[in-house]
């Protein structure tokens, strides 16, 4: 029943997309499309939530007689799927709500409206799919539709290239997944997930599947070094689609990885965890370092997605390591942390992209160096963006901290692992996680501080106006969720328990029943956290302090020019810029990570020319991996090019000898 309702939702979304093609020229279409998407997402969200909340053991499947004749299309709703459906449809709901306002500024609605609901439909389908064929079809559909959305503003500089790279990487990822499912299904071709689940692949094959899943899902999620398309493509789309791509589609990729590795693949080997951990750690640190070097607000956010995917994969790697050593409760803790971070990230990343979109509509600028002082012009957007920044920087009492705290608790359990490699690796990964959290805080001080604080750096920033009510409603809904998941994490974590129970056969203790709603993942004497109490205490202390001082001491305020050590400069250009803010971190970390070099040229004494500071940075991943691959492909293509100029006899020879060779291989093989 629930599956049917969800599939009906998908159908409505697809129909909306088709309808939008017809009505693209009418002005009311946008409101209708986003309204319908909002409605359908809300229904799907409710169904998924009900499935998760009320009967967690409840697995429902449905087979439609479409697709391959001998296979049909299988769909299934279990705890894991319900969880990710919540993430997808929550993102869809808020993005639609935001789109109701934001979409009015769209200059090319015909290029966005048909694809937006189709994109939502595709993501829902991926999560619902229960056989390899449906899964891959939905996955590819999702990729192509999102590519179309990336290309919506294809005339803007760089967007066409972003779309091209995205298409290449998406095809590569799908190819990897295709091979993975081919290996999983085996020679008999049991493509239904049930059949795959029952078969137990041998370790070498399973390892190959893991690698392919990492390539396929990892490239979609943005794991380093497969992340290169992400910071190009996500910002190129309209902002609510950026939010969907960053906040939700990367989560669908995580879903693909979890589904394949934890559900379909059978018991893991211990060193898989190490591989995933290293990838996660490197992704987290490099992602945030890249983000720190950006001046483009949306690209900065996109790089943060890379970072957060790294954090999720750290949790997944821990869960794999624990699971391989049959440490069920610890694995449940790590997986809970990863899944909770999935949810949290989808909430605050959508929020931040909405904020960036509001700034973009108000000023027409994505470059932070030309913004500034927006807190005066757009106070509500500023507040929402601030909340998102606190959440993503993993600071209490908001939700980002809770999931990172849980990940740390998982890391602190690692000494119990028997393998020495893991014993030593995990603390190092923990240090990397701490580093990335601290750098993220620095990065969001920069993003918020340069964009919203200080003085206006351009007339566009000066003339900005607060964004519309729909957008604000979407943002504040998410702010509320950030706070809710931060102060009452127990309820959310209990909601994740059915999924860990399903995948690992273990779960955390029910958290919502703990005294004072404290979070106690392992044992009372070991570690605990109570966001609600901290929130109330801090709020009370701050209010009391302010009240007391205002009541008994002084409440006088005088406005005056800035002090600035006695040398205030009226030009807003003398403020700290995004580049100068990141300079200390660039000097400390960038010299290694990006080969950053500073080149200062001073005019000789007496001359009045300006001094210049030039920073050279290299993207080592791009230069070290993609450029050689590109060169090799060019080289191979040149070689093959010669084949085009053969004579007909040569072609005939080629065909003849190929056939003979293949026949010989066939005889020798069998």
């Amino acid at each position: 029943m629930a599956v049917a309702v969800l599939l009906f939702c998908v159908g409505v979304l697809l129909a909306t997309g088709v309808g939008a093609v017809a009505g693209a020229r009418r002005s009311a279409t946008a409101a209708i499309v986003y309204g319908l998407s909002l409605l359908v997402s809300a229904v799907a969200l409710a169904v998924a939530f009900a499935a998760l909340a009320f009967d967690s053991q409840w697995v429902q499947t449905l087979r439609l007689p479409v697709g391959l004749p001998w296979l049909g299309a299988h769909f299934r709703l279990d705890a894991l799927a319900a969880l990710f459906l919540i993430v997808v449809n929550l993102g869809g709901l808020t993005a639609s709500l935001y789109g109701l306002g934001y979409g009015r500024h769209e200059e090319a609605p015909g290029r966005v409206l048909p694809f937006f609901p189709a994109f939502l439909a595709g993501m829902n389908l991926v999560v619902l799919a229960d056989d390899a064929f449906t899964f891959l079809l939905a996955w590819e559909f999702m990729s192509l539709v999102s590519w179309a959305l990336v290309m919506a503003h294809h005339r803007e500089a760089g967007n066409a290239r972003a779309g091209y790279i995205y298409l290449l990487m998406a095809s590569f990822g799908t190819l990897a997944l295709l091979l993975a499912f081919g290996l999983l299904a085996g020679p008999e071709g049991g493509y239904a997930f049930d059949a795959i689940r029952r078969a137990v692949p041998d370790p070498a094959l399973a390892t190959a599947v893991l690698v392919l899943a990492l390539l396929g899902a990892g490239s979609k999620a943005g794991l380093v070094p497969l992340h290169v398309w992400l910071p190009l493509a996500h910002p190129a789309a309209p902002s609510h689609v950026s939010a969907l791509m960053s906040g939700v589609m990367t989560k669908v990729a995580v879903y693909g990885f979890v589904r394949i590795v934890f559900d379909l693949l059978g018991p893991p080997l211990w060193w898989w965890g190490a591989v995933v951990l290293v990838l996660g750690g490197v992704t987290a640190v490099l992602g945030v370092l890249y983000a720190l070097m950006q001046h483009d607000l949306k690209r900065l956010l996109a790089y943060h997605t890379v970072e957060n995917i790294g954090i999720v994969f750290i949790g997944l790697g821990l869960a794999l390591s624990f699971q391989a050593n049959l440490m069920g409760p610890a694995a449940a803790l790590a997986l809970t942390a990863a899944l909770f971070h999935v949810f949290n990230h989808s909430v605050f990343k959508s929020l931040l992209f909405f904020g960036a979109g509001a700034v973009l509509t108000a000023t027409g600028e994505r470059d932070m160096e030309r913004l500034g002082g927006l807190i005066h012009r757009m106070p509500f957007t500023a507040f929402a963006f601030l909340a998102g920044s606190i959440a993503i920087s993993a600071l209490p009492p908001l939700n980002g901290f809770v999931s990172e705290w849980l990940t740390f608790q998982g890391i602190l359990l690692s000494p119990k692992l028997p393998q020495w490699l893991l014993k030593f690796l995990v603390p190092a990964i923990g240090a990397m996680l701490a580093l990335s959290a601290a750098l993220a805080a620095g990065c969001f001080v920069k993003a918020f501080g340069v964009t919203f604080l200080g003085r206006h750096r351009s007339s566009a920033a000066q003339g900005a106006r607060e964004t519309d009510g729909f957008s604000l409603a979407a943002m504040f809904l998410l702010v509320f969720l950030c706070l809710l998941a931060g102060v009452l994490p127990g309820f959310f974590i209990d909601g994740l328990a059915p999924a860990t129970q399903q995948l690992l056969g273990a779960r955390l203790e029910p958290q919502a029943e703990m005294a004072w709603l404290t979070l106690v993942p392992i044992a009372e004497g070991r570690s605990s956290y109570n966001g609600l109490l901290l929130f109330l205490l801090i709020g009370a202390a701050a209010l009391l302090c302010a009240k007391a001082i205002h009541r008994w001491a002084s409440r006088a305020v005088r406005r005056s020019a800035a002090w600035d050590c006695g040398f205030p400069d009226p030009s807003p250009l003398t403020q700290y810029t995004a580049g100068s803010f990141a300079q200390p971190i660039r000097r400390v970390f960038g010299t290694v990570a990006f080969r950053a070099r500073e080149e200062v040229s001073m005019p000789p004494p007496g001359e009045t020319g300006p001094a210049t500071l030039r920073v050279h940075m290299r993207d080592l991943v791009w230069d070290g991996l993609y450029v050689p691959v590109e060169r090799f492909i060019g080289f191979a293509a040149d070689l093959l090019n010669r084949v085009q100029f053969w004579t007909i006899r040569a072609y005939l020879n080629l065909v003849f000898f190929s056939v003979v060779l293949l026949l010989m291989v066939l005889t020798l093989w069998s």
Binding site: F408, L412, A438, S527, L533, C545, A562
Partner: protein, 318 residues
């Protein structure tokens, strides 16, 4: 009824750190002056400064936003709550399960986040320089801190400070190199986090050498007082942290009566006195580093933390 008593004890702890924090800073300043053979201000001078500041009017820069006005109270409240959750005279207080060591560090991180934002709010270059350097230091200090937490949890099986303090009083802890390494790492982190010499000079007003002072340059009146008090509290917090983990002797447990509390309090004040003296001596004998040497300084802290964890693995792996 019992709960009210427990909450009262917690409240006492909160007021205690609030009352002692300026005293500790005044004491250290006084000692440093004496070590330089100056007479120095009275030990209670910070109280006088705070009282004077909160009675003054606030001079606000023209384009300061609401964030600039709200930040001092948020910073103060987060630091105060963090400081009152670290055991000082007794362990196992009623609110201590609300935050383990990681959460306490994160609370300080939240305070720092707002401080750095406030530094950027007016849009002057000094505020920016302070904020950007502060965030760099934080990014270096945080991994070292985490390694410290890791070693602690490896040894004591807990990140809950009350449990750690109880564990550390047991005889089986013994002499451990890794504890010494952790201690040194923690002290280095504490020095950097509190902006003491050699990381930053709390007494400087030379523009290009300051970090903390640069961020709060635009603050005045009650806002400045509250921020200063938060800085005093943070210093006290790190003293309490070191005391409760490495010299946990004399700590009372929550259930004991007032006698034990009084003894614990006496011990706590004595520990602060010794710690403050050591800090004053160290600061007098050291010169401030260049900003970009700090990465080496905190890198060493991280290495020590890693090494401590490694050595612990050895001694536990046997």
């Amino acid at each position: 009824m019992e709960l009210i008593g427990k909450v009262l004890v917690q409240l006492v702890q909160l007021l205690l750190v609030l009352a002692l924090a300026p005293l500790l800073t005044g004491y250290i300043r006084h000692l440093k002056a004496r070590l330089l053979r100056r007479r120095g201000p009275a030990v209670v001078q910070p109280y006088r400064d705070l009282l004077k500041l909160i009675r003054k009017e606030v001079v606000l820069a023209d384009n300061a936003s609401w964030l600039f006005r709200a930040a001092p109270y948020i910073i103060f409240a987060a630091t105060l709550i963090a400081a009152s959750l670290v055991p000082t005279f007794a362990t196992g207080l009623v609110f201590s399960p609300a935050a383990d060591l990681i959460a306490i560090v994160a609370l300080l991180g939240a305070a720092r986040f707002f401080l750095a934002l406030a530094g950027l709010d007016v849009g002057t270059s000094f505020g920016g320089i302070g904020s950007s350097r502060e965030m760099m230091i934080a990014s270096l200090a945080e991994p070292a801190m985490l390694m410290f937490v890791f070693s602690l949890s490896l040894l004591a099986g807990s990140t809950q400070l009350s449990s750690v303090a109880d564990f550390m009083q047991r005889p089986e802890v013994g002499l451990r190199v890794s504890l010494a390494l952790s201690l040194v790492a923690l002290i280095m982190v504490a020095i950097a986090e509190n902006g003491r010499i050699p990381a930053d000079n709390p007494a400087t007003h030379l523009e290009l050498t300051m970090i903390h002072e640069a961020m709060i340059l635009e603050y005045s009146g009650r806002h400045l007082a509250v921020i200063e008090l938060a800085a005093y509290l943070k210093l006290l917090l790190y003293f309490s942290l070191i005391a409760c983990v490495f010299v946990p002797w004399g700590l009372a447990t929550a259930g004991e009566g007032f006698g034990a509390f009084a003894i614990g309090l006496g011990w706590y004040v004595a520990k602060l006195a010794v710690g403050g003296f050591l800090l004053a001596v160290f600061e007098t004998g050291t010169a401030k580093m260049r900003v970009f040497r700090l990465s080496d300084f905190l890198g060493v802290a991280l290495m020590l933390g890693l090494l401590a964890a490694l050595l612990l693995f050895v001694s536990r792996g046997l």
